[in-house]
Symmetry: C2
Subunit: 143 residues, 2 copies
DNA sequence: TGTAATTGAATTGTACACAATCTAATTTGG
DNA sequence: CCAAATTAGATTGTGTACAATTCAATTACA
């Protein structure tokens, strides 16, 4: 019973599945992230900061696929919470150097069991997870 | 060289991949959706409306995984654009009946080649697409 | 070398997303 | 039958997202 509008049905849209799935998974993080006073976006920003320790806004944005319009207010919030510092670079004053603070590094230990908790929260077997990981990388790869 | 913080690295996060991928794919829709004066969220709402024609806010929200906080302003915008009508139900005045208008139904024909255009935009072979579809359904299934 | 082009952040404006709260309408149970 | 509980939607407040613009700093090049 296929009609010419079939492709316009929500249930046939891979993009919608991606969109809905991403939102629902992020929502699952909330209770765990509430405990360490971070939103999901702040959490992924801190993940990069924990790993790199010092970065400018542009570099951070490349990791996160976010621009300064999102990151500027986000980083100001993280600064207010004491997790990062923000300072213009001496060498090139266009660059804003973001550094994770001691307090920010301490937060990492509080966050350490979040990935495990989340894994227990989303029931997907390791083989499927790996497969999904590969497929999403393929799509994201061409961007 | 595994350390105890490995699970907290962005590149190991399936959720981040989902989140980034969904955003990037939605972004790809923009040029096509601009032509028919819809945002992505408005577009998926219209997809349900095209299919169901009449719905209340709660039902629409169940299809879209969105609540009234998002849908109320969205539907007011779609009403202003003339694509849907909003009216309280006579039988139960708590229900707001959303109906797609003639103008809204006409929009469907303008939207009809968007799925094809998008398919040409994201290079993923049909087998992978199917696999991805199945995996995402599995995850979304438990929500 | 001086101006034009480029770059990195910030700002502005629009549109979600969602938790929490509120209000009015309906339903339930004593 | 009526007060309490439930339900549907709207509202409020916070926090993203991102396009477009602005601004200051730096770089390129005629």
């Amino acid at each position: 019973m296929a009609d010419k509008y079939d492709a316009l049905k929500l249930e046939n849209q891979l993009c919608f599945l991606l969109y809905a799935c991403a939102k629902e998974v992020v929502k699952r993080y909330k209770p765990f992230l509430d405990e360490i006073d971070l939103t999901y976006t702040q959490y992924i920003a801190m993940m990069v900061m924990w790993d790199k320790e010092t970065l400018n806004v542009k570099e951070l944005g490349e990791y996160l696929f976010l621009d300064s319009g999102t990151l500027t207010p986000l980083l100001k919030t993280l600064e207010k919470k004491g997790f990062v510092s923000r300072e213009r670079s001496k060498e090139d004053e266009r660059n804003l150097v973001v550094k994770v603070t001691d307090k920010g590094m301490k937060l990492r230990d509080k966050a350490i069991d979040i990935p495990t908790k989340m894994a227990g929260c989303i029931k997907i077997d390791p083989k499927d997870a790996k497969e999904l990981y590969t497929l999403l990388h393929k799509i994201l790869g061409e961007f």
